[in-house]
């Protein structure tokens, strides 16, 4: 059967020219008086917000200028395309609205809605400018982003380390003081041997303008080192502080020849000798060969990352468990079908719902900030934050599951003469299991993902480490953390999907 609905056409209160004039004065007024109230209000609202937004952006662009025209000209100067288009669009829209007002006075006319497309285009243009979208930036500095990004994408060199073996020999020199030079070191068979010449001299100094005055040039001779190996030169001052001298920014080092010997000229480095130093200043020049021995070992960042990813997973687990414990009873209070028996229970229902909605609206990250103040830094703060958010989120999901329960099986089981407990066990629980399992696992998934972030505000877990590495610009270590987070989330996603499929 087809249904024909006769709609009474509303006659306009005003004629076409009046409507047009009214819309010139106030966009949309003509439409309202032509009894297209919604259309008129929509147009008025659109025009008002477009003009308001444009004025705001023009004032921002033309700031530091006094008066309307100077600001407008300055803004036109700074963003000619945007301001020009905005002004043109307003003029065009206004004109269109005026014509539309005249048209709408004729009740037989079809609604033309293309004007709203134009309004949308204007809104998107303003949005583009407000959100400071600058496509050029995407390419101009891309190279710089590539350095950290490549380290994060392939961080595995930082994941391994080796035990090291050091071959070392030293020779003493007298610096900046009078007296006999220290003796040449004794040679012993098969041991690495080092001597310097001369064995006394002046260290490099700084003048008033912080310019370096080079010290004495000395020659370092080495024997019996590992052949063909890069050898580091170290310097140890009179109280045994070691450092690696640099020459023109590079650490001083030398290659041994095939015999394991070398000869290297170097300038005695800069070292501040405290005025309180007394007597002869004996420093030591050392040559060191550090070689990797043994199998690759997990590096410190890798070990830390693994430890913290475990912490993170358990944080998510604990938060989910606490969330379940609290949200199950709360969900009954938030289930409308259970709470609609009297006005008291209904009040509790609305109260619970409102609180849940507010708590849920506050992001876990913000709860973590509060929890850090509450229980101090560390994973427990993260657990508190995630638990609070989980209670609210799960409470809502569970209560909706309870509301969606099919009452049919309940009455069928009741009709068999079953007790209340039996009815719950046989008719309610089987219906609750799939949504319960599904929501809980989904929440665990969310909690683990969130706990990677929550560390950034001090809530423990891997996020804490990640932020540290990023701040120290250790992108490779950060990359290891990122990889482990991605891996964990992916595995969790797969596992939770599998489990959900089994139960639902």
């Amino acid at each position: 059967m087809s249904i024909i609905i006769k709609q009474e056409k509303k006659q306009s209160f005003v004629n076409a020219p009046t409507a047009a004039i009214l819309s010139i004065i106030l966009p949309g007024l003509g439409q309202i008086l032509a009894r297209r109230v919604q259309r008129g209000l929509l147009m008025f609202g659109a025009m008002a917000s477009i003009i308001g937004l444009l004025v705001w952006r023009i004032t921002l662009l033309g700031r530091l200028e006094d008066g309307f025209w100077p600001s407008l000209f300055k803004s036109l100067d700074r963003a000619p395309l945007f301001v020009g288009f905005g002004l043109l669009a307003i003029a065009g829209l206004w004109l269109w609205i005026v014509i539309d007002a005249a048209k709408q006075t004729n009740p037989d006319k079809q609604f033309g809605n293309s004007i709203f497309v134009l309004i949308l285009v204007v809104f998107f243009t303003i949005g583009w400018q407000i959100s400071e979208i600058d496509l050029v930036k995407l390419t101009s500095d891309a190279n710089e982003a590539w350095v950290p990004l490549s380290k994060i994408l392939w961080p595995w060199e930082a994941a391994v380390t080796h035990d090291t073996d050091t071959v070392e020999a030293g020779a003493k020199v007298l610096v900046d003081s009078e007296g006999p030079a220290p003796p040449v070191p004794e040679k012993s068979e098969g041991e690495p041997y080092l001597r310097v010449s001369p064995r006394k001299g002046e260290l490099s100094k700084l003048d008033e303008d912080n310019q370096v005055i080079p010290g004495t040039v000395i020659t370092v001779y080495g024997e019996n080192f590992e052949p063909n190996t890069r050898t580091q030169i170290w310097w140890s001052d009179s109280i045994g502080n070691e450092f690696r001298p640099r020459y023109q920014g590079e650490y001083v080092s030398v290659m041994t020849d095939s015999e394991g010997s070398f000869e290297k000229e170097m300038i005695m480095p800069y070292r501040l000798i405290p005025p309180s130093a007394k007597g002869q200043q004996i420093h030591e020049v050392m040559a060191r060969q550090v070689s990797q021995v043994g199998p690759p070992l997990p590096s410190q960042p890798l070990i830390l990352t693994i430890e913290l990813i475990i912490e993170t997973i358990f944080m998510g687990m604990m938060a989910t468990m606490f969330g379940i414990i609290f949200s199950v009873p709360i969900s009954f209070l938030a289930a409308r079908n259970l709470m609609s028996t009297s006005w008291i229970t209904l009040t509790i229902y609305y109260l619970t719902r409102t609180v849940l909605n507010i708590v849920r609206a506050i992001e876990p990250l913000i709860w973590a900030l509060i929890a850090v103040v509450w229980v101090g830094l560390g994973p427990f703060a993260g657990i508190v934050a995630l638990t609070i958010h989980s209670i609210a989120a799960l409470g809502k999901l569970y209560s909706e599951a309870i509301e969606g329960i099919n009452p049919g099986p309940i009455e069928a089981i009741q009709a068999t003469g079953a007790t209340k407990l039996q009815t719950i066990m046989y008719a309610v629980v089987p219906q609750m299991i799939p949504p319960f399992v599904s929501f809980t696992i989904y929440r665990w998934d969310i909690n683990v993902r969130m706990s990677t972030v929550i560390g950034m505000v001090g809530g423990g877990g891997i996020g804490f480490l990640l932020v540290q590495y990023i701040r120290l610009l250790e992108y490779k270590s950060a990359g290891i953390a990122v990889w482990f987070i991605a891996l964990t989330v992916a595995i969790l996603d797969y596992v939770s999907a599998e489990i959900r499929q089994k139960f639902v």
């Binding site: 049919g408 099986p409 009455e411 009709a415 068999t416 079953a418 407990l421 039996q422 046989y426 089987p430």
Partner: protein, 262 residues
Amino acid sequence: MLEIKNLTKIYPDGTLALDDVSFTVEDGEFLVVIGLSGSGKSTLLRCINRLIDPTKGQIIMDGQDITAAEASELRRIRRKIGMIFQHFNLVDRSSVLTNVLSGKLGYINPWASLLHKYPPGAKKEAMAALEKVGITDQATKRADELSGGQRQRVGIARALMQNPSMMLADEPVASLDPVLAHTILGYLEQLNHESHISVLCSLHYLDLVQRYATKVIGLRDGQVVYRGDREDIRKMTDGQFKEIYGEEAIRVNAGELNQGEQ
């Protein structure tokens, strides 16, 4: 024998669902309640096993007042009254066998049943009930894997587990096609004839009523507007039919069953 005396049900929102309804169901009768949707059929059936508590009136079954029964007594009464439903009301996620076994819940220790422990003979009994309705091969399937007709048979098997002396059927075939409708009502008739279980059934379609009922009650706006036996219903006139179903009612024959209002 079941006696309904002056039964009235007013819902909290003020709806008068049953208005001073009285009738009796003799043992072994196949009584059909007819009437439009909203005429009070479902409420009437649910009052009998007190899934809905009546506002006024008495329901007396074999001399015992059901309306006055305490909780534990009510459970004993309920287990003698099987019930099947329009939407079958099976627990979808449980197996067919578990659904059938749940018919036994009124007889067994509640604590044991929480662990899904049944007395030794129960499973055999459940298989026998499934055999009666011809679906033993579906026993291990999940209830939601079955077709509509099969699910209603599970519903009947579940009711049979109660070893009932009376069967309530709330529009048992309204969600099924005509052929299946006859199969399901055939099972009820078989129980009625062979096991002398009284059947109290609500139906929509006149030709099903004419085929199966031994006694008919017509409800309209909660009041009994028609009483008749098998002979009366065969001779039922359009006038009487309209009395029950309202002026717009038209007779539908079996071929048009599915296009009728539900």
